[in-house]
């Protein structure tokens, strides 16, 4: 069945270079550099990517950074906590806007 999301697109990511090799090369060079061991370890970066992947709800990224997190030595409990961090920020982002609502209710109510 046709779908907007296609599993085969992830391994074919490199084909994005067809329209502009220069931009693709620059992007992938940057991308790979980002995930190297630095002030943060590659494992920590993979966990951040996993949390962000759930926030942007990208199935390709969830697939890729589940594998990357496992390969970098994280286990299910650690990865679940990372997803909860994303969830907490997403929920908190909604809830903190509630203060705006509270202020406006105050203004408009007796």
């Amino acid at each position: 069945m046709e779908s907007y999301y296609d599993r085969s697109h992830l391994p074919r990511f490199g084909e994005i270079a067809k329209g502009s090799k220069e931009l693709a090369d620059a992007f992938f060079a940057y991308y790979n550099k980002v995930f190297e061991d630095g002030a943060l370890t590659a494992r920590e970066k993979a966990l951040i990517a996993l949390a962000v992947a759930h926030t942007v709800q990208c199935p390709y990224c969830i697939d890729a950074y589940t594998t990357a997190s496992l390969e970098a030595g994280s286990d299910l409990e650690q990865m679940t906590e990372a997803v909860h961090v994303a969830t907490a920020i997403r929920g908190g982002a909604s809830l903190v806007h509630g203060v705006q609502m509270v202020d406006q209710v105050k203004k408009m109510s007796m």
Partner: protein, 370 residues
Amino acid sequence: METLLLELDMLPVVSGPRATQSLYTRAVPLVDPEEQFRVLNRLEIEEGPTKTGVFDHDLAASGWPRLQPDSLDVVQINLGKLCNMTCRHCHVDAGPDRTEENMDRATVEACLEVIDRTGARVVDLTGGAPELNPHFEFIIDACVERGIRVLDRCNLTILMTRRYSHLPEWFAERGVEVVCSLPHYRQIGTDAQRGAGTYRKSIAALRRLNEAGYGQRAADRVLTLVTNPVGAFLPGNQASLKHEWQAALARNHDVYFDRLLTLTNMPMSRYLEWLLEAGQTEAYLRRLVQAFNPATITGLMCRNTLSIGWNGYLYDCDFNQQLDMLMDVPRPHVRDFDLDAWLSHDIRTARHCYGCTAGAGSSCGGAINQ
């Protein structure tokens, strides 16, 4: 008489952690290496340098038309298939039920003769749980007398049985390097692979080794941990993981170690059975072939290690040993070992060999390229 003694020896340790039962006990078709070859060879893998999934073709395309030894540095002796544990991924199909296949004294003596003749600097003892072999302490003492570095590949839980609880101090007195299996520094993955309760016992055993002087960066008390992935993926970067593990084990348990080795799981034996059950066999083999790294070939362990089986037969590595792939020399037995024949023989390969050449590479000494 020896079999009887062995059975008596086993009494205190028959209750080890179990993640499964041996293929041997269950008498499943996969117990036969031929069936394991069939399962792997029928997969169409169009990846790697030659897009054939044929290991020898990819070697040849990488400048290695023949794969031959370099120099004999390590003699790895598999003392037997007997083990107190039954781990999910075991490539030896070891377990408490494997009471028949254990090296006898005459074969141990023949191994020592080969060690003397070859000038190998390292003796690497494996199994099963090598400690369960009745000649375990004899062979270590014989090697230590000869000034040879000894490695014991230890499952940790055996050190928590009463009969073997003296070993941490006993090892320390002899400078034996203890190379311990611990798939993860946390419980969830460790117990999934090695059986419920393994993690708790392993941490307790590591404490005992620390108390005996291991893990404090002393050259004659080296404590090495070995991690292999708990699933169908490649191991992480060995150096990076070591720092995380050291910090985590110190913080969580006040436990210390010296070296961390990352090992890739070979698609064979009980790990292959798990891959089949999980529907991951093709994806995993494809991953290994995709990650084929020619830079690992020079450092492959088959090029510097002689692998001796419990019955004295010779192999290019412990994996080939479990797949019944005898070394390709005229008389592949420890009693007939000929160093010149070994140096000029062709190493036998099959598809499982992609496990050793994937990514940073994998050997009994951990990652090959760092």
